[in-house]
Symmetry: C3
Subunit: 275 residues, 3 copies
């Protein structure tokens, strides 16, 4: 579907961007060790942290954050995503070529949402130890496999040099809302952000005209707004729907956390009645 | 007052610094999206995070942190500050030219303290959509307006290309302590730092000789120290005043959080009796 | 023991890495101020944060994190470590040349573990004010001394230009476990990481064959594993020992925080019975 990744494009080779997305937190030495390895291989890599605050081992949260971020990066960007409860075991390290970017990490669903939006042109299993840091530990492939492999890719190594083609990759539950027999559809919360905005899996193609009522946790939301700071809403309309910056419909509240008002958690069901 | 910003100075063009100061936290995709946009426009930008831990929508906290940081940066630095409860509404996006640096963000008071210290030479309202990321969302101007505009400035675009001159800018309450009829003056806490040090709005010009007694929350502080780790103080003198690294007088405590001892919160009044 | 630091090596001069390790947190202006000073002196420095989340004034935690990170960095890296309760007082600012890297910070034990592993070839007391930011505050040597000195080193200034040789440096308690009369040895927890893994001070040279039983806080651990995600262990064997990525034996738990199960805190004793 996509043209294969082009490691020879000048912007890529001159100043490749390598992003990092992990559940390592920022208190330990883990993230610095990955950056050290990358800069040892490619002193000119530009490293951008997406986040390291993914809840420990929460692959779905990582998958969402990567989905929300990757399209803002230029072609040739290399994303390293390491939320890896299976580190050292049989799960495969992979590199995915999709949307003219590369994605490096464990095959455990972390790239699921990206692959659902942008069908990969190629996937390879990473087995070529030539590009690993030695010795390879069994507990920190972020440092010993994924970081040096990403750095190698940023130096012009092609994905096929890393190993054999890999069939498909592990998928999380689809991003698509499910149609209901009685009309409308059933969506859910993909994410709750720092401000308490509740991000659903509903996109504009599902609701091109904003003609809908949402029901979540016993509350109804029938008001759509264009931005957060509008005129005072009537109290009972304090909750509203708004198209968020990641392309999904969000449930928000005026000057407050919608998640708090709704006692919402990720995964909560959202029933959508179209009008 | 200041010479106009010089976009043509070599150090600026070769390796421009763009700082980011937001209330986005570091768990979401927001900060990474801003960096992605900046590096898409200017692959050579050097991005420095000031902080993303400003409490949600706390414009005053952001204004203080920017005040404490900007003078350590070299001429030509471009500061992007986005604490923006009014995003998408009528508040103006602006660029300020002051102290040979540029400041990009919403006109909501976030640049108030900088402008109080360094009178701007120019302010422009940002309206030229040519420099925006398309399409412009109504909820994330950090990514769609402020980041790409800062990147454009770092490439040599001049502030006047962004829009028409803007009259003044929104001001927070002044940083100046207020004289009291009975002598002395009334100050307040601008900030409480990680260590519990309580930063007042008192500068050396107000107390050139350290001859003062401070009163806050029912406690008196009459001891001035030069550094934190001095000889053991008598217990009742555990609290002391010290000139802090941001140029303001701070109230600190030996081996403890002064804020905790004082049950202090930002904004608390400090009465200063000069001797 | 080590060859002296070579400031003239091309990779060092072209794109020197300066790391930062502090207890400043990321909410205040402190870290940004250090970066601003570094980039003012050397616009080409590549700054890598190790962490800023060290608990306030916790020198031992900083020493461990530096120990776990420094060997992943290339030769010529300059590490700035500032956890500095004695700032402004009599403690010495020093630069250490060890393992073909430089270490800049206060002489309070923060470099103790690095020096225990890699005997320094040289240590100098930093007194040459020519390389300081002026005026030097008495509360923020990170910004006014350590950052500009590190930047100067990254520009090719040699450590001996900074001041006179310094005899030894402050040492924390040794990393070495202590032999017990009855056989085996007494170790302790050096660190607890984000995942609740408990890092001991035991290295492979102490237990080359994994033949041991560990006792900590009333629990015994006699199971060694190679990676975290193995087959289900019997419930009572949920805790296991594993060689961690920093080179130390760790106590971990399947899908849970070992520290929580053990109610473990840093410093807790670990008795090791060899079999």
């Amino acid at each position: 579907v996509n043209a294969p990744f082009d490691p020879g494009s000048p912007s890529h080779v001159d100043s490749p961007i390598i992003t990092l997305l992990t559940d390592f937190g920022t208190a330990d030495y883990f993230v610095a060790a990955m950056k050290a390895v990358i800069l040892s291989v490619n002193p000119h890599a530009r490293i951008v942290d997406i986040t390291h605050e993914v809840a420990p081992q929460d692959v779905q949260e990582a998958a969402f954050t990567l989905l929300a971020a990757y399209l803002t990066f230029p072609k040739g960007t290399i994303h390293v995503a390491v939320v890896d409860p299976g580190v050292g075991s049989a799960r495969s390290p992979i590199v995915i070529d999709a949307a003219h970017q590369l994605f490096v990490g464990p095959d455990n669903g972390i790239f699921s949402y990206v692959c659902e939006r942008d069908v990969p042109s190629q996937i390879f299993r990473i087995t070529n130890r030539e590009f690993f840091r030695q010795p390879v530990s069994s507990t920190f492939h972020g440092r010993d496999i994924f970081a040096p492999v990403a750095a190698a890719l940023s130096m012009g190594v092609s994905p096929e040099q890393l190993g054999a083609p890999h069939d498909g990759c592990v998928r999380l539950e689809s991003l698509e809302p499910k149609p209901l027999k009685k009309g409308g559809f059933k969506a859910h919360l993909l994410h709750i952000d720092r401000f308490g905005n509740c991000v659903t899996n509903i996109t504009r193609k599902h609701l091109p005209n904003n003609n809908a009522v949402l029901a979540i946790n016993g509350k109804k939301i029938d008001c759509f707004k264009d931005y957060f700071a509008a005129e005072e809403l009537k109290k009972k309309k304090r909750l509203f729907a708004i198209w968020g910056s990641a392309g999904f419909l969000e449930i928000a509240a005026q000057d407050r956390s919608a998640a708090e008002i709704l006692k919402a958690r990720r995964g909560d069901k959202v029933e959508v009645k179209t009008l």
